[in-house]
Subunit: 200 residues, 2 copies
C-alpha cells in the first residue's frame, strides 16, 4: 500500500488521539496534534486558547474570535473572518508538516487537506456513546454538563466544521481508508491494525 | 474482543464477497451468501431469480415480485407485499444460521438483523469508483450500461433497501466496527485485518 502519513479523524471520547500516539511511537514517526496548535498560534498571532477552541470547530463565533485575537493577526486578515484565516493558516501548516516526512496528524481535517498527495492512510476512530462517556469522565473528569451532552455538543461542532470547510459528511465510511470502533475493538488493537497496514 | 460471526456489507464491485470468502476459509467457518438465497427460495416458494434480484434491493417492484413469485408463496403472504414477506423470511433465516455457530454472512442487512447478539463483528467494504468499475468489468464483463451507471444503480438500490428496512444510512462508519477501502488496502489485506481481529 505504501502510505507514509496517517491522518486520524475521531469522535470525541473515542481515544483517537491515543491511537495516533501509539501508531507514531510504534513506527518511530512524528506526531502532530497540540504541537500543531502551538505552531498555528505563532503563525497567525492568535492566542493559543482561541486556536484550541476554534481550530476544528464551527465557524460561528466571530465576535469571540476577534476578542481573543491579537492585533497583529487582525491586521493581516485582509477582511477574512477569524475562522477562515485560521483555517487557511492550518491548511498551509499541515501541508508543510506532511512535506517534512512520515507522520501522524490528528484532527484538523488533515485527510481533506492532504487529499491530493496519495501517500496518506486516512483513518476514522469512533465508538458507542457508553464507551465514550465512560472515557471522557475517566480522562477529563465530571463537569456541570452531562457526559452525553458534552459528546453531542463536541461531535456536532466537528460535524459542522467538517461540512463547512470540506463539504463532506463527517464519519461517512467512503471518505476514509479505514474506520474502527475503538469501544469494541480496543484502542491498542486499533493502533495495531493501523501499524500493520502502514508497514505493508 | 471475542466475536464469532462476521457480517459483511459492501458496495457493488468492492470485492466484499471475496473478502468474506477468504475470511471464512482462513478461519474454517461457514460462509453464507448465495446459499442463503437458495434457502430463502425454498422457504418462501419464491423463484430463485426473484430472490437474487430483490433479496437486498429496493422494495419498489411489487408487480415484478408477483410476476416472479410462486402461487404457494402468494397464498402464504397474508396481505404482506412480496418484498416484506421476503424480508421477514430472510430475517428469520439469518437468525437461524447465526444460531448454528461461527460464520461469515455477506449482505442482506445481517448486521442489523443480528444487532442484539453481541458476538458479531460488523464490517463494511467499499472502494473508489475507478477501482470498482475496473473490477466489475473484469469479473462480470461489459454490458449495455456504462460501468459507472451500473455502480450507481446498484449502490442506490442497496442504500434505499437498507434505509427502508433498518432506518440506517448505508455506509455510515458508526454502524460498523470496521470499514475498509479495498481499492487502496487490497482485498486480501482486508481479509487479513478481519481475521486478525476475529482471532483475538
Amino acid at each position: 500500500m505504501h502510505k507514509k502519513i496517517v491522518t486520524i479523524s475521531r469522535e470525541f471520547g473515542s481515544g483517537g488521539r491515543t491511537v495516533g500516539k501509539l501508531v507514531a511511537q510504534s513506527l518511530g514517526i512524528a506526531y502532530y496534534d497540540k504541537d500543531l496548535v502551538k505552531q498555528a498560534a505563532k503563525a497567525t498571532g492568535f492566542d493559543e486558547r482561541f486556536i484550541e477552541q476554534e481550530g476544528e470547530y464551527a465557524p460561528a463565533s466571530s465576535v469571540l474570535a476577534y476578542a481573543f485575537s491579537a492585533r497583529g493577526a487582525q491586521g493581516a486578515m485582509n477582511g477574512m473572518s477569524a475562522d477562515d484565516y485560521l483555517w487557511a493558516a492550518q491548511y498551509q501548516m499541515i501541508q508543510e508538516l506532511a512535506e517534512k516526512g512520515p507522520c501522524v496528524l490528528v484532527g484538523r481535517c488533515a485527510d481533506y487537506i492532504l487529499r491530493e498527495r496519495g501517500d496518506c492512510l486516512n483513518v476514522f476512530i469512533h465508538a458507542g456513546k457508553e464507551a465514550r462517556m465512560e472515557r471522557i469522565v475517566r480522562l477529563y473528569g465530571e463537569t456541570d454538563k452531562s457526559p452525553e451532552k458534552r459528546l453531542e455538543e463536541k461531535d456536532k461542532k466537528r460535524r459542522v466544521y467538517c461540512k463547512h470547510y470540506t463539504g463532506r459528511d463527517w464519519g461517512a465510511a467512503r471518505d476514509y481508508h479505514l474506520t474502527l470502533d475503538s469501544g469494541v475493538i480496543g484502542v491498542e488493537k486499533c493502533a495495531e491494525v493501523v501499524v500493520t497496514l502502514l508497514r505493508d
